[in-house]
């Protein structure tokens, strides 16, 4: 009896675990799978010395002028924007009683840093509105500062275009900004861009898949419904190319997506999912050419104007705004627009 109970429990546990594993696999196929590489590194102004901060407000971490080892013997060490301010330190006898710093007003500011594509323009949105454009360096690193911000919950989004003008996904982080603090977010990692030389081809033809990411890292390209994972390495400007032989694919529609990987632990989420067709019946040839990527007024941006057009047609039919082709402009169309949002 005990044996049967054991067997039942073990089978059940493995079945459930298998089911959960399968469902997690299924969810990783969707682009919506969570892969937050970014984190709030420090909050300057909260009185706590986080990583990258020398001090925070009146909290000097027990440090003194003399203890800095910069030749000062006495004086008042203070803190300015989470860095030591030695203007009150002296090399002679103390002019006044020493003590904690503070008194400096810290501006409410957010600093976003991470990696995009070498030399790309990185666009930063605050609550969906374009507020800043900064340039990534040759190593794809970027840093953006959003100043004079009202305390509260904010959504900051980042997107960029690669050297072939292919847009990344819009990467969004939502967090609380506190008054008189500098919130530093690091580790933003835009997934690789992805493009195809064809969207419809015969079985056995080579499909050229290409994109851009950080220089000299691995890019994992996933082709599904039957999943094939190919790995390529980006060149010194982050560009990569994968000639994919479609002989292995069945006739019909397929999808493809890419993920950048510096190390197995440090990888981006998945970027854009593209679809292509293999076989004689090239039904999807011009399917996506009309109001592509929710750009309803076709100005190259997906922003408030497109949202207004969508609202105008909401609950009605409009060829352009009906992104999912269910004959009515509804919430899934809105969701598709939000996914492609550029501000």
């Amino acid at each position: 009896m005990k044996k049967w109970l054991n067997l039942f429990l073990i089978i059940s546990v493995f079945s459930v675990a298998g089911l959960l594993f399968y469902s997690s696999l299924d969810s990783t196929q969707a682009q919506s799978g969570i892969s937050i590489t970014a984190r709030i590194e420090s909050i300057c102004g909260d009185g706590v010395i986080d990583g990258g901060e020398e001090c925070d407000g009146s909290n000097l971490g027990g440090q003194t002028c003399a203890g800095l080892g910069l030749g000062y013997t006495s004086g008042t060490l203070s803190c300015d924007s989470c860095s030591f301010d030695v203007s009150g330190c002296t090399t002679t006898a103390p002019p006044s009683v020493g003590g904690g710093g503070g008194g400096v007003t810290i501006p409410t500011k957010v600093i976003l840093s991470g990696r995009a594509y070498p030399g790309s323009d990185v666009h930063v949105l605050s609550d969906g509105k374009l507020t800043e454009t900064v340039k990534a360096d040759a190593e794809a690193n970027f840093k953006a500062e959003i100043k004079d911000i009202t305390p509260g919950v904010w959504s900051f989004s980042v997107w960029a275009k690669d050297k072939n003008n292919i847009k990344s996904i819009t990467y969004t982080l939502t967090f609380q900004v506190n008054a008189n603090t500098i919130t530093t977010v690091s580790g933003i990692f835009l997934p690789s861009t992805i493009g195809l030389n064809k969207t419809s081809l015969n079985k056995g033809e080579i499909l050229n898949v290409f994109g851009q990411t950080i220089p000299e890292i691995e890019v994992k390209v996933h082709v599904f419904s039957t999943e094939y994972i190919e790995t390529v390495v980006s060149d010194n400007i982050g560009v990569w190319l994968l000639p994919f032989d479609t002989i292995v694919l069945e006739d019909g529609s397929h999808a493809i997506k890419a993920q950048s990987q510096i190390t197995p632990e440090e990888k981006s989420g998945f970027g854009q999912i593209l679809s292509f067709y293999v076989g004689e019946d090239r039904g999807i040839g011009d399917l996506d050419l009309f109001c592509l990527y929710a750009d309803l007024n076709k100005d190259g941006r997906v922003n408030l104007i497109d949202f207004s057009i969508l609202l105008y047609w909401f609950g009605k039919y409009n060829t352009c705004a009906d992104q999912n082709r269910n004959d009515v402009v509804d919430l899934p169309d809105f969701s598709i627009m939000l996914y492609h949002w550029t501000g």
């Binding site: 937050i36 969906g128 959504s155 207004s308």
Partner: protein, 309 residues
């Protein structure tokens, strides 16, 4: 003794297996819509805030559509605040109905929402704040606030795929008679809000697909303290009228200065003025014509003087 220990271990083993077996399926693989509040016990006449929040498990979302019901016999819905909501674009502004005891809304997050960012110590997962007032009671009552089954989230996957969703309802104990420390949580928030809504831009546009290709304006902003209450638009010397984006302009010749006012729940306001380019060009043209006339008049006078001399 050893036998007892062994039996205990075996029992623990089965217990663990059973926990895994029945515990794992209940581990959410989608989003969870839930409520939070400062207290669970209120008195007659108290005005309190119930926050609708979302927890994300394993998939990013970008749209929330929610229908919420409440115990109509003991609660009155007073207001809905969008302040500090993760939703920034609202397809349908909160529709409050005391008659049907429901609150409905749908909004989205450009670029999606993937949960609380590591390192963020606050709960940045607010959907909206519901403000309730406790009605007159004949006896101690239990009030329920719950998400209706037709509420949904859509994944940030570019396909508008519905996400898996769970609901957690909230219950409140309502006591007869007013308490000594009468609560009006909403009023407290309104009184401390002295900050106007965020500055914003007004854009003018026209599109063959909309308003028969006539000019319209678009605008939107947020308010981090109590939330935007309404917008008003004024064209030229016209009256302020309640409006929403997109707004079809009355002056299709674009000769009027357009003003858009955003007002928050605490009545703080910000006014944005927009001068259409065509109006600016008209003024520029008039200015240039005047300059030419003055220049011509000066030249004429100089010539006249030269001839006289």
């Amino acid at each position: 003794m050893k036998k007892i220990n062994l039996q205990f271990k075996i029992k623990s083993y089965y217990l663990l297996l059973l926990l895994i077996l029945f515990g794992l399926p209940s581990a959410a693989f989608g989003a969870v819509l839930y409520f939070s509040s400062a207290n669970n016990v209120y008195h007659e006449g108290d005005v309190f805030i119930v926050e609708a929040r979302i927890n994300i498990q394993d998939e990013c979302i970008n749209m929330v559509e929610a229908d919420i019901s409440f115990s109509q016999d003991v609660l009155e819905i007073v207001d809905f605040s969008k302040a500090n909501s993760i939703l920034s674009l609202w397809v349908s502004s909160p529709l409050i109905s005391q008659e049907t005891a429901t609150i409905s809304f749908a909004g989205g997050i450009p670029g999606g929402y993937c949960g609380i960012v590591p390192g963020d110590l606050s709960e940045s997962n607010l959907i909206g704040k519901l403000v309730f007032k406790v009605k007159e009671l004949s006896q101690t009552s239990i009030a329920n606030v719950k998400f209706l089954e037709n509420s949904r989230v859509l994944l940030n996957d570019g396909f508008g795929t519905p996400g898996k969703l769970e609901f957690k309802d909230a219950s409140f104990t309502l006591l007869v008679g007013q308490s000594e420390d009468f609560k009006n949580e909403w009023q407290e928030q309104i009184e401390t809000d002295l900050v106007p809504p965020e500055l914003f831009e007004v854009e003018i546009n026209k599109n063959p697909e909309m308003f028969e290709n006539k000019y319209f304006i678009v605008f939107f902003t947020t308010d981090k303290q109590t939330g935007i209450d309404y917008y008003e638009v004024k064209e030229g010397k016209g009256e302020w009228i309640i409006a929403q984006s997109p707004y079809l302009l009355k002056d299709q010749n674009l000769q009027s200065i357009i003003k858009v006012k955003a007002v928050d729940q605490a009545d703080n306001q910000v006014i944005i003025e927009y001068t259409p380019l065509r109006r600016q060009l008209t003024f520029l043209a008039i200015f240039l014509i005047l300059c030419v006339i003055i220049f011509w008049w000066i030249l004429k006078n100089i010539k006249k003087r030269n001839i006289q001399n």
